[in-house]
């Protein structure tokens, strides 16, 4: 139970931090911000790895494996696509 209280605490603080983190974003950055944070939401890959990594040949393990693949597409694709876009913005030379 103690750990749960701690986790809720962490969640609430992170929520406030998230609200404060970006306030005024130039519209040029809306898409990269979205796809970049979208890649971060692929953090669920960590949970997927833990589920897939268990030894027993259970059904849940295969669910975890599928989750690893999907989350990893989200992560790698999201970061690369964001980088590609930002690279386009950059090359105008600022």
């Amino acid at each position: 139970m103690e750990i749960l209280i701690l986790l809720v605490f962490v969640f609430v603080l992170a929520a406030f931090l998230g609200f404060e983190l970006i306030q005024k974003v130039p519209s040029q950055l809306h898409t990269p911000l979205m796809s970049g944070s979208n890649a971060i939401s692929g953090i669920t890959v960590v949970g997927a790895m833990i589920a897939a990594g268990v030894a027993e040949g259970e059904f849940g393990k295969w669910l975890g494996f599928a989750a690893v693949v999907l989350a990893m597409i989200n992560v790698v694709g999201g970061y690369l696509v964001t980088d590609r876009m930002l690279g386009m913005f950059k090359k105008k030379g600022k």
Binding site: G18, L21, S27, Q28, V54, G60, N74
Partner: protein
Amino acid sequence: MEKLIDLAYIFASILFIFGIKMLGNASTARKGNLLSAVGMLIAVVATLFYKEVVDYPLILAGLAIGAVIGWIWSVKVQMTGMPELVALFNGFGGLASVLVGWAEFEFGKNTDPVTQIAIYSAILIGGVTFTGSFIAYLKLAGKMSGSPTLFAGQKAINAVLFVALLALGVVFVITGSAWSLYAILVLSLALGVLGVLPIGGGDMPVIIAFLNSFSGLAGAAAGFVILNKVLIVAGCLVGTSGIILTMIMCKAMNRTFGNVLFGGFGAAGGATGKAVEGEMKGVSLEDAYYVLEAAQSVVFVPGYGMAVAQAQHAVKELGALLEKNGAEVRYGIHPVAGRMPGHMNVLLAEADVPYEQLCEMDDINAIIETVDVAIIIGANDVVNPAAAEDEGSPIYGMPIIDAYKARTVFALKRGKGAGFSGLENSLFFRDNTRMIYGDAKETMTGLVAQFKR
């Protein structure tokens, strides 16, 4: 070991925080993205050291397969295909969270009510994110009609679904039964489909931003399932910063989020505003050329039509020629032009339009009265004066680019029909407006050819 893993997670979380922060600023954005990618790498590597994690071949295979697919897609995508790709990635993230929740249920290690609530949340939020994003993907990719899909009793069905999901949640938390979980899974998937179906193309920027936020929350819920702090922090950050972006989009349309979700904008009939008087006046390419040739300042106002026609390169070429001709060239970008937040910026950047020429709505409106020619390329509602003048109009109050105040307006349009919202645009009927019908790209290329003669 556990302590070291936790430390690595804290470090990863810090990198995510800095990453998101830096993504909000043009000069640091790329570095921010890199930082958050490093954070992700650290989190993934640290997770390999959990003592429960023993099946390395399977995990590494999964990581490799996902990485290769993600890499191929991200390299191959055209900039015009960006909105649907972002939607698709987002859906995968949501589905992954569903599967994590489901897998933990199958293991059945923790059956206390709090874990059950977390599993329920992960499956509900993740499921809605998955199918919602997938429908958005189909709409954006043109594999499905982009207009709102409405049918009788839609709202009632959605309400029933919602209540059923709440009731099933209670049943699941109390009994922990498998059937209730499967029912929750199926209904969540259905809710995602039915929730996004009625949302029209013009509202896509809002819904994409919202689904992005939701996928973060799904990750945070999965974090509660496995009691993992880095999932909670990262998921929550994405969730809340996504809400900020959603709000920016709603504000740009002067609508509440509830109105976007439940409005079924423009398709349900209802108020359509005043009838527009006058007629649309066309102009030939040649005459348009003479006006442009004499213009001292020109503003392009792009919309979704530019993306559809893939006209951004031709637009850039014309812009460069006008500049060489001595005119001041700017681009007026409405925050919700296109189908995702920042859509127009991405396309114009791809076409190498100088960053300094891209102006935000307020900056353009401040100087619009001194502009000789405003060229509307496939934009409609974001330049509709009814938003400023006609109180009966459904878009009344929405901030627009005041293109109608420019001395001359050229509106590029495929045909004479109304925009996505079904509204007539009185801009097209004004005395200072001339219509150039046809494909935007061909029109642009035609004007370029005139200049080069």
